[in-house]
Symmetry: D2
Subunit: 282 residues, 4 copies
């Protein structure tokens, strides 16, 4: 069995030695260890994977780890057994490119998740859900219905025991209630190289400014619009010869790939958040 542990705690002497010794006492073998110290903040981060020949009971392991180490070092931590497929809900509006990208990776076995449903404020992409035989919920959002829509979203998420949400170009602002219920569990793709061009119509703004490179940014959603911890960014060159339409077409390719990479990092438990920034393990 393979176990992944993520830890962050105040930086101090002896953490690696203590954790690897603990794993040894549990008859495990460390097969991967990556750590990082944020010297400014004085915080230690570690991702560690170990293999066990015997069966591990996750709850028992956690209780033991808590008692032996977590309290002593004042750790925030969690552990995951290999094999569990997290439940990922996808929210979309009208653009299909990110949705198709996620679903084709899902279908080919690249993306190890379950997808209980796709949710949209529009009917437009129902046909994509149909193609891939995934339940599709149409939850319209208007000023008047916003609160009800939110309640319905939360109900669906709970019913399906959703672990995390991917906003695959879902063009609505997410409410604080939803964010609080899924902290660091809502992944958005913003179609600019943040923090440049926050908000609506970033390609138009980029075109207006005459930039020579455009980008896309995937981040965890927080209450500040487009200001959450960045998971992944990428860019591509543009020139004066490109129209706004070209920016949008080139941007779509970035959005696809940047969102997919961010989702993969999240699913592989390679992301940790601290001080509105991410540590991304190798």
């Amino acid at each position: 069995m393979k176990l992944t542990i993520l830890i962050h705690c105040p930086d101090q002497s002896g953490i690696i030695r203590s954790v690897t010794t603990f794993i040894h006492q549990q008859e495990g073998n460390v097969v991967y260890l990556d750590q990082h110290v944020d010297k400014q903040a004085g915080v230690f981060f570690m991702r560690l994977q170990s293999e066990f020949e015997k069966e591990i009971v996750l709850d028992g392991f956690k209780t033991e780890f808590d008692a032996t180490l977590a309290k002593e070092f004042n750790m925030e931590w969690d552990a995951y057994l290999e094999g569990y497929k997290p439940k990922m809900a996808i929210f979309v509006s009208k653009y299909n490119h990110c949705l198709y990208d996620l679903l084709s990776r899902f279908k080919s076995g690249e993306l190890l998740v379950d997808i209980p449903f796709i949710l949209s404020n529009h009917q437009d992409l129902a046909y994509v859900a149909e193609q891939f035989k995934i339940p599709f919920y149409h939850v319209p959002v208007t000023k008047e219905t916003k609160e009800n829509a939110e309640a319905e979203q939360l109900k669906l998420l709970k019913e399906h025991q959703v672990d995390f949400i991917v906003l695959a170009r879902y063009m609505q602002i997410i409410s604080p209630r939803l964010i609080d219920t899924y902290p660091q569990k809502i992944i958005n793709i913003h179609h600019s190289f943040l923090p440049a061009f926050v908000g609506a119509k970033p390609y138009h703004a980029a075109f207006e400014r005459g930039v020579k490179i455009i980008g896309a940014t995937s981040h965890y959603v927080t209450e500040d619009l487009d200001a959450g911890p960045i998971i992944e960014q990428d860019v591509t060159a543009v020139s004066h010869s490109h129209s706004i339409k070209d920016f949008i077409a080139k941007g779509k390719d970035l959005e696809r790939i940047v969102l997919s990479r961010a989702v993969q990092l999240h699913v592989a438990r390679k992301t940790m958040v601290y001080n509105n920034k991410t540590v991304i393990f190798s």
Copy 2:
């Protein structure tokens, strides 16, 4: 003889045909032509190079072109004979990386300019000027002396008939008077991916925001700080494991290369400015 013509004018039918016919009548042969239409603005841009077997008198050519074509099509335009080395002044403060990069390209014959002088508000880089045997002027700038300093700068620029100025990490704000005297002839390097992180300490701001990519931007200087027409940009990946010091070190490599590319484009007359944006010819 080789002649380069740069034109922009209201978009209309027949420009390419008329210009190529004119070149033909002058017994020239078109060896390169690149054009661009900004459809939003309704403006036509063209860069054209032609070869002449006979000797061309630039002034005569210009008068003829003006009378025959420029008025009819309402062109803003200019023509340059191959071989003239523009006079480039370099302004620096204390960082030597961009200066060394420019001077080593100059020395190896990659950068076809004359460098009448290097100017700085500090003494620190006098030794580099000395290494390359280029005159160095120390013009200190304080609140009190700013106006005098400016006058001295203008005097030096005129005396040496400087064609354009490169701010190779010159950390002072350029005055409107200097900008007006050298419109679209002052090239700056800003150490961020503009328009993100305008102003001072962009690497610190980028670190604070937790971006995964940092950049550098070279642009023509206008009165709005860091908001002039962008000539060239480039980026490099960073991660949580990089400190601000690492950002700065990686950024220096970007600054070097982005500034050099922008200077090369300017010297090769491949840049045109319109509506605070650049057209960069191939």
Copy 3:
């Protein structure tokens, strides 16, 4: 109506002037012109787009152009009216990532083609064709059946009046007969940065060599394996920490995007082939 003309011919004086004058005589307006001279080979290349207010009869235009210009300048050339959707056949084996990418772009209207059928030597991807409701032909290929399979392929291609073929990770070698029938009309994606790692298992070879960057290459198929004219290439960074499995996963993302870009360039008639190299217009 919008007309795109592609020309290559021996480099000589007066081509641009003559062609733009011809367009003018036909009451057209040049809206785009890009040209290139291969000085080594002495060949001139041009892509030109013009708009006509009156209706153009393509055949008549071509006859006129041939008589007036093409013979004089010894041109190889062709002209295309906007609006025609080329018929694109897709050949696949067992990998679905490139196929999904092409079909999702097709479905979203990004890729302006008709897709008469998908052909494979395996049954594995029939379900994808089914999802997108595109005819799927299973044509198995073994040593013994190779010739028959080829005949069947050619029959299908002719029946459906296919304009060009995309090998979306079709793992079979294409026969000279097929290549001769569709010269510069078969686009392949090779999963390496050619000319490095020609042939089978390039990711394994790249891993073995310890490269720090891997790539993908899209090219027109010629009789020399993986040696045809390159249309598009892209790369991504790898490190010692990546396994062959990681190389393959990262590579798939490259393959998708590089093949799609090449197909888009071909469809937009932005590619010309000469001396086993491509000119790619902007």
Copy 4:
């Protein structure tokens, strides 16, 4: 005091725990740990940095480490105290761009080495050595003098106690004797994206092949030409519009940066070699 330890050994259980425990017993504090397992080869790699409040005697530490750990785990390893500046000899021929790049980084304090001398088979770059006041040795190499030249090189390297050699576009083949004396201590820059275009004139070969991307590769020199362990690679886009001269100019910028990065990685002791491949620590 800060100590860096580099280890590789057969992969086995308990290495991290044992080493971190040893550091603890020596009253050190682990401040950085990065490890990698090559599963195919069954080899474990680790780079570890620790801080000590007390003074460390390097020889004593090494003896202790050897006795306690290195034998048990069958380690190849070494340890370095912070502060030592390795002695770097630079070999050049006639191109100055890599030399200028290295020397300007050296001069600005970016590159923490001593440079006892620059050696060349030509006189051409003596002026650069002069500019930076570094001894310059002219050791001509012809078929007849090759053996003598080599002896002179070795003599100079020993006299100056050189730690490693940088071939900054030194166009001569290095003899086995020199390679054996400085194993994994000679860094070369090859002006192509290896393994494509091994040998002489790679830019010409790349131009001939019509590639859309060119590269540069820095590697440790082994007896097989251009086939040593790769430290760093980078690439840049090219197009049909670029001449061989353009390839060379763009390539120079790659060569500069790729060689500098490789040298920095070597100096920071972030490289390990195994099976003709490198592990590059973060």
